[in-house]
Symmetry: C2
Subunit: 368 residues, 2 copies
């Protein structure tokens, strides 16, 4: 795993259509759209400087056996934050941020000074901060953690170095976090598999508080990880994605129902009417809203709002969203100075549900 | 559309792997496993005698526009019965029954004398009775209409003739039904699109009574048809299929959620907690049961029970189920004479959910 990928590798990836040239915020780079050999999707190359993609973290759905099966050494338990994943890094005299898919994110880049103390990049120019940005005013997701009431916050949960795929060891990360007072996801401590009852109790409480779940990180050179989420998180995902019921793979919803049942079974939550109602509501609420939207405007859409320091970055974001996929239709509604920020409001069309409701509500037949 | 398909057509279909030789109950025949040209899936050929497949009936999800869009003339409204579709017909001196997929059904064949007055086949040897067989003791489905408390009943809802793909006109069917006192699905009358409020009221009532829905049949040579189901039916399908959540296409569940919302919206049912709870319960109940089964027996299965007159036919059924698909595992549990019938009990394994729970409950990782 060398610091640089050879130009031969890069050309081969481009020929195999696993990597492509891209540009955003006046930066040109190469983005891996899919995994290619050992190079993960989301890896980005800036003139031979490589920011490795964030690796997939496997999920366990059963704590007791999952922890025993996945970990042999004690592991750290950290809160999993319901936001979007970005890698923040320095390129010459600029600070940049890449989403999971390897897109530069004009919103995160714009708000970096509000999100964390950026001095770390002066002293550690090749550090990569793997972070979750979460809150009601973000441009990608309609869900957010219950404890963030406005705007967004950043939570650093891992660090990498430019050109290297692995994570920094826990102690090294902790030291840097403390030195620069970086905002981090809550860490619940170091546990081993014998502490299962404590962990179950922790997750029951997180579930009651409407929190997403945890990531387990083994303290070892192998850096084994696994995530585990609450039943609240599964229901909340369904609720906030109901508009996209025909656009997401249908397994998206079914997998969450399975997770939910296994969480309840293992943590001993009874199958009460409140959970049943919550799940039913999650499926129905967004669809009723979508029908209302369609009846009023002949289209189904989701609304987003976020704050910028710099108006140009808002334009960059809209441009990027418009060019991300042929099936995405973004309409800017408002961009105004208000209380110290440029407030951007935009709508993202949901063409699959718009099309389906159009067909069904005009009396079309389906054969299923 | 000739009475016979040419042997050239048949050979071409076999070469294209759209038809295959099959045998059941000592009858050899050719079964269309897929649509081939204008020949529907489920068509069966017995030594050049053709029983045409039952055609797909399109579904409307919005009554007001759907009826206007699909029908120009008045249409009959008949109850849609929640059972399995069979075509009953005479082959020389035997009465046979084909399922939708074109499989001979040893259970239906065995019970024909209990299901209807078979004298019609003496006087009309080429009649084909398109029927729904429904009730708690059937070998295929775990759901049944609320008004059938034991065993099964048969409901003739259309008639065809051997060798011809279309249906008999309404008047002709009615006359034969009455002459032979054939059991039929309830007919609510002839309506036109102006009677929408009456139809909505009918469907609200059917929904309250836990009935599946209706089929609309235009009285015209074009024989246009459409089906429409209640929200109860959508929830009930999810409830009775939750075991198969990883085996059915995931759209199966998502489509029913969409149907449910459109039914509620159009019939003016408020999105009450009872419906939300019903939908949540439908998803959760079967999965909790499956987890219990898995913990006790390391397998997930569904239980079926049905009554036979003739023990050999029970064996034929088990043989047929065992050979229907490589992924189906059927275990006979009981076959005993009781109260005038051979009572068969068997279990059908649900390998997809067994496999998934096996992986998850032993601590496996998933990447999704």
């Amino acid at each position: 795993l060398s610091k640089h990928l050879s130009s031969w590798d890069l050309n081969e990836a481009i020929r195999a259509r696993k990597a492509r040239h891209d540009s955003c915020c006046s930066v040109h780079y190469l983005r891996f759209t899919d995994r290619f050999k050992n190079i993960p999707r989301g890896t980005a190359v800036f003139n031979r400087r490589v920011i490795w993609g964030f690796p997939s973290i496997g999920r366990i759905l059963h704590l007791e056996t999952g922890l025993k099966e996945q970990f042999t050494l004690p592991f750290w338990v950290e809160e999993k934050i319901d936001g979007y994943n970005v890698r923040i890094f320095r390129l010459k005299d600029r600070l940049l941020a890449l989403t999971r898919g390897g897109f530069l994110c004009p919103f995160t880049i714009d708000r970096l000074p509000d999100l964390l103390d950026t001095r770390i990049f002066m002293e550690y120019p090749d550090i990569v901060l793997c972070s979750e940005v979460a809150g009601p005013e973000n441009p990608y997701l309609n869900g957010h953690p219950p404890f963030i009431e406005e705007d967004v916050q950043c939570f650093v949960f891992d660090m990498m170095r430019q050109g290297r795929p692995g994570f920094l060891p826990h102690a090294e990360r902790l030291q840097l976090q403390e030195k620069y007072h970086l905002p981090t996801a809550p860490v619940f401590g170091k546990f081993d598999v014998d502490q299962l009852p404590t962990l179950k109790e922790l997750l029951r409480r997180m579930n009651e508080e409407g929190r997403e779940g945890v990531v387990f990180k083994e303290e070892s050179p192998k850096q084994r990880r696994a995530k585990y989420v609450t039943s609240h998180s599964s229901i909340y995902d369904i609720l906030t994605s109901a508009h996209e019921i025909k656009q997401l793979p249908p397994e998206y919803f079914i997998n969450r129902v399975v997770r939910l049942v296994l969480f309840m079974d293992e943590t001993g939550l009874p199958c009460q009417s409140t959970t049943e109602r919550g799940l039913g509501h999650a499926f129905l609420h967004g669809l009723f809203q979508a029908i209302e939207q369609f009846k009023n405007e002949r289209r189904v859409y989701e609304t987003f709002r976020c704050r910028f320091r710099n108006k140009t970055n808002a334009h960059h974001l809209i441009d990027r969203l418009k060019h991300t996929g042929a099936h995405i239709h973004v309409v800017q509604r408002r961009l105004e100075w208000q209380d110290g920020f440029y407030v951007l409001e935009f709508e993202k069309d949901v063409p699959a549900l718009t099309g389906l409701l159009g067909h069904l509500l005009s009396g079309g037949l389906v054969f299923d």
